[in-house]
Structures are given as structure tokens and as C-alpha cells.
């Protein structure tokens, strides 16, 4: 189950504002996504409570 109330709506909006910052913004978004992929194994998910 996804707990909607625990999701910060600002996260998605910050991402969108970066993407809409033009070509450079798109690069920042891709770089950010790439870093997340590279570090995915190191991230330990914490249970939502």
C-alpha cells in the first residue's frame, strides 16, 4: 500500500521545474537520475511509518 499522505508533493515539482529549465535543466535531471541508478544498491529503504 502506498501512503499518499507521506509523499512530499514538492519532490515531483522540483524535478519538473528542473526539467523545464531548458536543455541544461534536462541534463541536470539526467545526471541526477544517473547518480540515483549508480547508488541504488547502497540506498537502504526505510519503512514508512
Amino acid at each position: 500500500m502506498r501512503l499518499i499522505a507521506y509523499i512530499d508533493a514538492g519532490t515531483g515539482s522540483m524535478l519538473v521545474s528542473a526539467i523545464l529549465g531548458g536543455a541544461a535543466g534536462l541534463m541536470v535531471f539526467l545526471k541526477s537520475a544517473g547518480r540515483r541508478l549508480l547508488h541504488r544498491d547502497k540506498v537502504t529503504a526505510s519503512p514508512e511509518s
Binding site: 509523499i7 524535478l15 521545474s17
Partner: protein, 448 residues
């Protein structure tokens, strides 16, 4: 006079506004003071687009003093062009702030007020230094509070005022997407509406500020975004051919009575200077403008958003600059609401008028809105000012038009001239009355 905190300013931990008689004081926290010390040299504060600030102290605490706004208004009382002007001011100030490595930490129209037709940014506490790699944190708020209301009004002809009056956070991306589903090709819809609505559903919470900063986010990206949004806002427009009341001034009965009413209004208004006049049911603002020379401010209210928008545009072009047009449904004026029912102040508590015009309105309140005549006169007396009141009898052709689908027993029985006079006599002294083609103009002075 005892100082009291403004009930709408508590959300910002860095500063809080206190009202002390005619003084408006912003008490700064340690953080707020640090921000102010960094931003106070900015060129922005020398501009008349931002409210003036004088440094002071209150009980040893650092504070700023601002000039008092004569009459506060809220975005759900603004017309389309007013909200559009406010959005452009917000973007303009942000872009200028960024050139000095400053930012505006929020993006809400509640931080903007109109002095007549001129928008002015009033929340000095919103300016702070931009941190390196920091994204535009208020982008979402700008969309919900400015952009989406403008888009739904402009593209889908959905009035934004009831939406902003029912939600302090404005219109959500999901709601905007639904309302704009038939307008996907219009500027801003796929990007600022669609992308955000999708991101709301699919992006999990994470420390995006740090992530974007590490990925090389720069302020130029915010500038690009701000310029892009400015273009979208400039492309929005709303000017339908007509509305219920947009042609009212051209009706025969209005044209024939207008001159006599204007003479009456000019005589009453010219008796002495007033601080605040309310023109209720102002329509094209003819009487507001006629009285403007004799008041610090005239607030011209009408429930029809189009007539108020046209009035705003006309006043912006040719003045006078001391008339503030507002979209207000008199049968349901803006209430107090928000946190503990007090974050936003009811219309009547934002400044009582010393003169009120209620011309050709009473029959609409009684017949169309089913408000008893006694209530109307009681409300006028409670407001406390003098009143120019036009009595429109039930036999008046326009009153009969309103009642065409009502049985006699469906109209409040107090809607009679003798009741009107009795109720007026209980609360007012009649300074003057003048018959007008079956109607009566009264100049009323409150008793006591």
C-alpha cells in the same frame, strides 16, 4: 491601542506581522534578521513595486515597519487581469532578485496587494539569499496559486475566484489537469500541468534539493523557467463578449436615471472628504469614479467578474488611481477562514466604510437572493457608515422582471416601501430623499 498579531502571518517562522493602531510592524526572528541583513541593500527595496520598510525595534526585538495598506483584498476577490498583473509582478521580482543572488521563498498572491490598480509586493520576509545549487522551491506554489487559476479561466472559461476562495493552497495539478483536459495543446498545459500531475503520482519523496544541487543545478535554470512562465502568463487572456451585467450601463432605464443619481452622489460625496467609500454593485464604476475625488479610496464591488475586469483595465489606463475594483457577491461576502477561521479576514473587518453606495441593488438582494429587506438595512446599519440607498419598489419594471417566475408568496413580505421607511427610521436619520421615476434615493446617516 493594543498591538495584535496579524492572524494571516503566522506561517513564516522567520517573521510575523503585528498591527499596532496604524502601525504595521514585522517582528524578525534570528533567521529573519540574518536574511534581512543580507537582502536589505538590494535595489528591489528602492522600487515602488515593493512595500517600504524602516528598521526599528519592538521590546528589544529587531523589526521592520511598513506603511499600512488602506484596504486589504484577496486573490479570490480579484478579476482575471488583476491576478495576471500580480503573477507578472511575482515573476518580475524573482528574476530581478536572482540577478543579485537572492530568491523569493514563496509564490503566493496573498503576498501582493493592490493600491488602487497598482500591485505591490508586501511580504519583505519572503526575500532571502539564494543558496548555491538551490532549485526554485516555490515553483509548485506559483503554479497552484497563479498559473493554474489563470489557465483554467483563460482556456476553459472556469472562473478562478470560487476555487481560490475554497482552497488556501489554490488549484492542485490533478484538478487543473481535469479542467484543462480539452486544452492539451495550449501553452503550459502539457508541461506545467500535465508533468506535475504525473510527478505527483509517480515520484516518491526524496531529498531533491540535495540531489539537484549535486547534479549541478544553477540559478540560470530558474531564470529560464521564470522567463518561460512569463511568456505563458502573457499569452493568457480572458475577455468574453458579454456577461450577465456587462451591458447593464447601456440599458435604457440606467441611462435615463444615471445623470440624476450622479448629481445626488456628487452632492453627498462632496460634503466632506471620506477615508473609505464602498460602492456596492458598482458595475462599470461610474459612481465610484464620480466620488473618487472626495475619498482616499473607493472600493468598487460587483459580483460580475467581467465588469470588474473591464473596470480594472479602464482604471489602469486612465485612472483615477484610488479606485479598487473587487469581485464580491454581496449575497455572500468573503468570510473569515483558514486556520482557526481567522487566517483570512472577512470583508467587513478589513476596514469599515464611512460612506456606502447601494444603488439599484436592493431588489436583486431581496428578489433574486431571497435576503429579507430588514436584513439588508440591518447590515448597512451594522457597517456603520452613511449610506446612499436607492429604494426600488416591487412594482418597478426591473423588479418585476426579476420576479417574473416567482409567486407573490415566494418573495419576502417585508419588501414594501412602508417597511423600508420603518426600518430606515429605526437605524438612520434621513438627511435627504429624492424621488426618481418611482424609485427613491436616500442619503442616510446612522443614528448614535
Amino acid at each position: 491601542m493594543t498591538a495584535s498579531f496579524d492572524r494571516g502571518s503566522f506561517r513564516d517562522p522567520a517573521s510575523r506581522v503585528q498591527i499596532d493602531g496604524s502601525r504595521v510592524i514585522r517582528i524578525l526572528s534570528e533567521r529573519g534578521l540574518a536574511d534581512w541583513e543580507t537582502v536589505r541593500a538590494s535595489k528591489l527595496f528602492a522600487s515602488d513595486r515593493v512595500i517600504g520598510s524602516t528598521e526599528t525595534t519592538v521590546d528589544g526585538s529587531p523589526a521592520l515597519e511598513h506603511p499600512r495598506i488602506r484596504f486589504w483584498s484577496y486573490p479570490y476577490e480579484w478579476s482575471f487581469t488583476m491576478l495576471r498583473q500580480a503573477a507578472l509582478l511575482q515573476l518580475e521580482l524573482l528574476e530581478e532578485a536572482l540577478t543579485e543572488d537572492l530568491t523569493i521563498k514563496d509564490a503566493t498572491p496573498y503576498n501582493i496587494q493592490f493600491q488602487g490598480t497598482r500591485p505591490i509586493f508586501v511580504d519583505i520576509g519572503s526575500f532571502r539569499p539564494l543558496e548555491p545549487g538551490e532549485p526554485w522551491l516555490a515553483y509548485r506554489q506559483f503554479c497552484q496559486m497563479f498559473l493554474y487559476p489563470l489557465l483554467v479561466n483563460s482556456y476553459a472559461d472556469v472562473p478562478f475566484q470560487p476555487l481560490l476562495r475554497s482552497s488556501l493552497d489554490g488549484i492542485s495539478p490533478a484538478m487543473a489537469r481535469t479542467m484543462l483536459s480539452g486544452h492539451r495543446r495550449r501553452p503550459g498545459v502539457l508541461t506545467d500541468v500535465g508533468l506535475q500531475a504525473r510527478a505527483d503520482r509517480s515520484v516518491k519523496s526524496r531529498d531533491m534539493r540535495t540531489e539537484l544541487s549535486q547534479a549541478g543545478f544553477k540559478k540560470e535554470l530558474i531564470v529560464h523557467n521564470v522567463r518561460r512562465l512569463r511568456k505563458i502568463v502573457l499569452k493568457t487572456e480572458w475577455d468574453p463578449d458579454r456577461s450577465t451585467w456587462s451591458d447593464y450601463a447601456h440599458c435604457d432605464h440606467v441611462a435615463t436615471q444615471r445623470s440624476a443619481k450622479e448629481t445626488f452622489i456628487r452632492q453627498v460625496a462632496g460634503e466632506r472628504r471620506r477615508n473609505l467609500i464602498w460602492d456596492l454593485g458598482a458595475n462599470d464604476g461610474h459612481f465610484s469614479i464620480a466620488a473618487a475625488d472626495h475619498a482616499d479610496l473607493v472600493v468598487a464591488m460587483d459580483g460580475d467578474a467581467l465588469v470588474i475586469d473591464r473596470l480594472f483595465r479602464r482604471l489602469s489606463e486612465s485612472g483615477p488611481g484610488n479606485v479598487l475594483p473587487l469581485v464580491v457577491d454581496l449575497s455572500s461576502p468573503s468570510p473569515a477562514w483558514g486556520w482557526r477561521g481567522a487566517e483570512r479576514t472577512r470583508l467587513e473587518d478589513r476596514g469599515r466604510p464611512d460612506l456606502i453606495f447601494l444603488l439599484a441593488v436592493v431588489h436583486h438582494l431581496v428578489i433574486a437572493a431571497n435576503i429579507p429587506l430588514t436584513e439588508v438595512i440591518d447590515w448597512l446599519a451594522w457597517l456603520g457608515g452613511e449610506v446612499v440607498f436607492e429604494w426600488v419598489p416591487p412594482t418597478d419594471p426591473m423588479a418585476r422582471k426579476l420576479a417574473v417566475n416567482k409567486k407573490d408568496w415566494e418573495i419576502h413580505p417585508d419588501y414594501r416601501e412602508e417597511v423600508c421607511r420603518t426600518e430606515i427610521d429605526r437605524r438612520f436619520t434621513v438627511a435627504r430623499e429624492q424621488p426618481l421615476e418611482g424609485r427613491i434615493l436616500f442619503h442616510l446617516i446612522p443614528k448614535g
